[in-house]
């Protein structure tokens, strides 16, 4: 797995400290490091958010250690304020920021590009193009960082992080370094004085010199490589997974002898000399990258800056519409574009192959994105919907980031309450804003939700804001005891650290109460009590009110495989499509374990996937869903 290779690269570089906030597709890097933390004498932590992760890693760097921080694409946005100052102050021990991005938003609500941060914050950017490089570039990133005394960013994408391939491992170092933070030198010496971004004029100049040094090193880097004939008719410049797509496209079209590929592992700053050399080879240049035209823009600026050396070119990329600036690319897209420009025949898949593909696809059961069987979030939103409908003032929920974001999606459940969805913590901030619009005639009750992990990450300031400004919001914490979406990484609410140590839990209810909000706690599986409590909170006017809905995630290691109830449908009682029910359980509630027997016209519990939570028994109007407590044997 690409993420394992990155972790291995860090270990071979002798990383000492690693900090991260979980987020697909990045989480496995830290998980792999945590697994060997003891053995390799590493400090590994799940941080409260990405900004804190970079800060934790930076402290290690300031003390002469090697450190890394890992996040998904939008995590870089969270960390960016600190990064702006960090790149200015400079670093000491090697420090690498790994950003694993998600073109096509396979498991995100955005396909943000963090590469632009490298340009904006003036730090070097590396992009591995295969699994071996994922390891080797990571290792080299530490060396580069130490050479220029600044943080280096390494960017991966889902198809790199989550795909697998062969990697030849190197040796693991064996020295245990001493942490030493030197700060009594002059302010103007970033290596011995206080680590600080002022005086700005001086530090900014230094920062740019560092970047230039990096650019020089990139000229000779083996991670930038040309493949193809010495005099190509056409040149592809590419990086990352797009290199693999481009190579495959060439072999599909049998164009290896006519088209060259310049694969860049170092994409900011651009190795200018190298590019000049290869851009000169041909008039036609195609830039293949995901998602936005980052490299394309940079190459065009370069070409415009040195017209005499480079000459007039025809560029094909995102800007002219050859490729979309949205979503993932793949070999077919590249081949199709190339075929069109080079006027060669491009056969899509042979018919027989396509037929085989369809056959395979037919046996894969269709899977909607939905809440799992036994998911407490489904029950929570059931309660929220009931309370809002009973309340009758057309209240709505500002959503947040986590599994529960699915409540905004159509197939997940048969009703809707979530009306906004943005970044981590923004639901409560938005709610706080909506609530203050009452002076302009806005009267709807406003709710916000967030998961436990998101609460610590970015919700607290928004909740304080609501309290301080007397915003009348009802804030619901969907506390399922873990960062479920990304694979149960511990968070500050739990008593276990990233490496399995016992740590004190930070209590969400106490934080909310300390802020001054009224706090209630309920079990979302207790339909009646939860709805009642929520309605009472909605009716209360004034300051923020908090409802903590506590129920462990159905997939949590504690629960997994253990059913609390044996659940069955009594066919005699089930009303099915008839008036009086009209398939409430399979049409509206939509737990995947409740299936509809079309022939019998009855609901059926799929015992294999039923998690045994028993909540559906409470909603069936007929009492047709029977639950029986499972006695532990």
């Amino acid at each position: 797995m690409g993420n394992e290779a990155i972790a291995r690269g860090a270990l071979e570089a002798g990383v000492n400290v690693a900090a991260a906030y979980p987020g697909t597709p990045s989480s496995e890097v830290i998980e792999n490091l945590a697994a060997v933390a003891k053995e390799r004498n590493l400090y590994v932590e799940w941080s409260t958010n990405e900004k804190v992760a970079v800060e934790v890693a930076a402290a290690a760097s300031f003390s002469g250690l090697r450190s890394m921080c890992v996040m998904k694409q939008n995590g870089v946005n969270v960390a960016s304020d600190f990064l702006l100052h960090l790149t200015a102050s400079g670093t000491r021990g090697g420090i690498v920021l790994v950003s694993c991005e998600d073109p096509g938003a396979l498991s995100s609500v955005n396909e943000g590009e963090s590469r632009y941060f490298a340009r904006m914050l003036e730090m070097p950017l590396l992009e591995p193009a295969d699994f071996q490089e994922a390891k080797d570039l990571t290792k080299w990133a530490f060396e580069l960082s130490e050479k220029i005394h600044n943080i280096v960013m390494l960017r991966s994408v889902t198809r790199m992080s989550h795909a697998s391939g062969n990697v030849v491992c190197g040796k693991l170092p064996n020295k245990i370094p001493q942490a030493r933070f030197v700060y009594d030198g002059p302010l103007t010496d970033p290596l011995t004085g206080p680590v600080i971004s002022t005086p700005v004029g001086l530090k900014h100049k230094l920062q740019q010199e560092k970047l230039k040094t990096a650019g020089k090193l990139f000229e000779k880097s083996p991670f930038n490589k040309y493949f193809g004939p010495p005099k190509p008719q056409f040149l592809i410049v590419t990086s990352s997974a797009c290199f693999l797509y481009s190579r495959e496209a060439l072999s599909m079209l049998n164009l290896q002898k006519r088209v060259g590929i310049l694969k860049l592992g170092c994409t900011w700053p651009l190795p200018e000399k190298l590019l000049k050399k290869y851009l000169r080879l041909t008039k036609n240049i195609m830039i293949v990258e995901e998602v936005l035209p980052f490299m394309e823009e940079n190459i065009k600026v370069l070409a415009a800056s040195y017209p005499k050396e480079i000459g007039v070119k025809s560029f094909y990329g995102k800007i002219d519409g050859t490729f979309p600036s949205v979503g993932e690319l793949n070999p077919d897209v590249v081949a199709e574009a190339l075929a069109k420009i080079m006027k060669v025949k491009y056969k899509t898949l042979p018919a027989s192959y396509a037929q085989e593909l369809r056959k395979v696809a037919a046996v894969i059961p269709p899977r909607d994105q939905t809440f799992c069987p036994g998911c407490p979030h489904r029950a929570s939103f059931w309660n929220i919907n009931a309370a809002l409908k009973l309340d009758g003032r057309e209240g709505f929920v500002c959503g947040d980031i986590g599994c529960y974001a699915m409540a905004a999606l159509t197939p997940a459940i048969g009703f809707h309450t979530v009306r906004t969805l943005h970044s981590m913590g923004s639901g409560t901030g938005l709610a706080s804003g909506f609530a203050k619009l009452d002076m302009f005639g806005f009267e709807k009750p406003v709710l916000s939700v967030c998961g436990d992990s998101t609460f610590y990450h970015a919700v607290i300031p928004a909740l304080i804001n609501a309290q301080h400004n007397k915003a009348d919001i009802t804030f619901i914490v969907l506390d399922n005891a873990g960062t479920a979406m990304t694979g149960f990484q511990p968070h500050p609410g739990l008593t276990m650290s990233a490496v399995g140590e016992t740590v004190p839990a930070v209590d969400i209810g106490k934080i909310c109460a300390a802020i001054g909000a009224k706090v209630e706690v309920s079990d979302p599986f207790d339909l009646e009590t939860t709805t009642k409590k929520l309605n009472a909170l909605l009716e209360e006017k004034g300051n923020p009110k908090v409802l903590i809905l506590k129920q462990i995630c159905a997939l949590s290691p504690e629960k997994k495989g253990k059913k609390q109830y044996e659940v069955k449908v009594n066919e005699e009682l089930c009303l099915g499509e008839d008036c009086g029910c009209n398939r409430l359980c399979t049409r509206i509630f939509r737990c995947p374990a409740l299936t509809w027997d079309k022939a019998k016209k009855k609901a059926v519990v799929d015992e294999v996937i039923c998690a045994g939570c028993g909540f559906c028994a409470a909603i069936c109007p007929q009492g047709a869903i029977i639950k029986k407590e499972v006695v532990a044997s």
Partner: protein, 378 residues
């Protein structure tokens, strides 16, 4: 072809959003899609069925009144003003204990006690309330519970929902106290041919209708009380004494009086479009014995209209077992009643016409209906 709207959507468009909903609760507890909360009928989830019971039973959806009357009454008993009349009396409970807790003569409570004692019913569905002054239907199976829930509060109590709730969980027979809209809803259930549904509806032995001029919206009324610093949970009894134009609120600290027009301003919107003041679709209907020249003595009596054979049975039994004191009502009483009933019908029809914008569109009513045509004078 235009898609047929679901029953639920029709109910929403034509009844709930049109503010015609009486809060009777006939559409509630039939399925998981509708609920009553704080006096409001709420749709919880989307249902796409096109022949739903909710729409069929609602007293404010179009009704086949002619079939309904045929099913329930003898044609010769029908009057345009107050529906079917088999007999018309002044009555009161023989039991003075009941009279002391009842609204007027305690006829309703006495009839329920009788039916329970005689095994005609296993449950009397009467109205109860919580401290928030919201009413809900409740099951009484003995005299004690009946007396505890005797007397009326003029806020809406979803009695049809209580009946649905009862039949969902219990097998026994029931008698229901119902306001006119609720009596109509319960009557409409009897038109349902579905086998399973018929079994449930047959649990309904009789309906004791209450006369009703209007009912209060709990929401508006509680706002009014708050303004007057009257604690809702302190009200033990409500009365509208004849000829005084006030609403009396009996509290622990004595009687508080509210001008009737202020109270009436809190009427539920739907009541303005209601043409029934005597619970025309009940088996018997009970009201105050109040008419020109009412004496203090008569204040402790009820008017009673017997409408159906079942009603006759019930009253005969009550006389035989000595549960009710019964006397013939004076002629002027019936005349006054009809006059008042006609008045309510005319006002409601005028309001309906104003709402629909056309005398041809009577919303939930049908201008081809024979009895209505007589009221409309055509």
């Amino acid at each position: 072809m235009a898609k047929r709207l679901s029953s639920q959507k029709l109910l929403k468009n034509n009844v709930l959003d049109a503010q015609l909903c009486t809060g009777c609760g006939a559409c509630v507890s039939l399925c998981p899609y509708q609920a009553i909360y704080n006096d409001r009928t709420v749709q919880l989830h989307y249902c796409d069925l096109t022949d739903g019971k909710c729409h069929a039973y609602c007293p404010r959806t179009p009704t086949d009144f002619e079939s309904l009357r045929e099913l329930l009454f003898d044609t010769k008993d029908l009057t345009p003003e107050i529906g079917a009349v088999k007999a018309y009396y002044l009555t009161r409970a023989a039991d003075s204990e009941i009279r002391s807790v009842a609204q007027h003569g305690g006829t309703v409570t006495a009839l329920m006690e009788l039916a329970l004692n005689e095994g005609m019913i296993d449950a009397a569905i009467v109205s109860s309330g919580n401290q928030e002054y919201l009413r809900y239907g409740t099951v009484a199976a003995d005299k004690n519970t009946l007396c505890k829930n005797a007397g009326v509060k003029f806020t809406v109590s979803p009695m049809a929902a209580a009946f649905n709730q009862f039949t969902r969980h219990e097998k026994g027979n029931a008698g229901v106290v119902a306001a006119p809209c609720q009596a109509l809803a319960l009557a409409k259930m009897k038109l349902n041919q579905d086998k399973n549904e018929a079994k449930r509806i047959n649990q309904l032995q009789f309906v004791i209708g209450l006369y009703c001029g209007w009912a209060l919206s709990a929401e508006k009324f509680s706002e009014l009380l708050a303004k007057k610093y009257i604690r809702m949970d302190a009200i033990r009894r409500m009365d509208i004494p004849a000829g005084k134009n006030i609403l009396e609120l009996h509290t622990a600290n004595g009687i508080r009086e509210i001008p009737l027009d202020e109270a009436q301003a809190c009427t539920r919107e739907a009541c303005n479009y209601c043409i029934d003041s005597t619970a025309e679709y009940a088996d018997v209907s009970v009201g105050a014995a109040r008419f020109a020249g009412t004496t203090e003595e008569q204040r402790g009596w009820n008017q009673l209209i017997v409408r159906t054979r079942k009603g006759i049975e019930l009253i005969d039994l009550a006389a035989k077992k000595g549960f009710l004191e019964i006397k013939d009502a004076p002629q002027e009483s019936l005349r006054d009643l009809k006059k008042a009933a006609l008045e309510k019908k005319k006002t409601a029809l005028a309001n309906i016409t104003r709402k629909s914008g056309s005398a041809k569109n009577l919303l939930y009513l049908d201008n081809r209906d024979v009895l209505l045509r007589r009221i409309l004078g055509v």
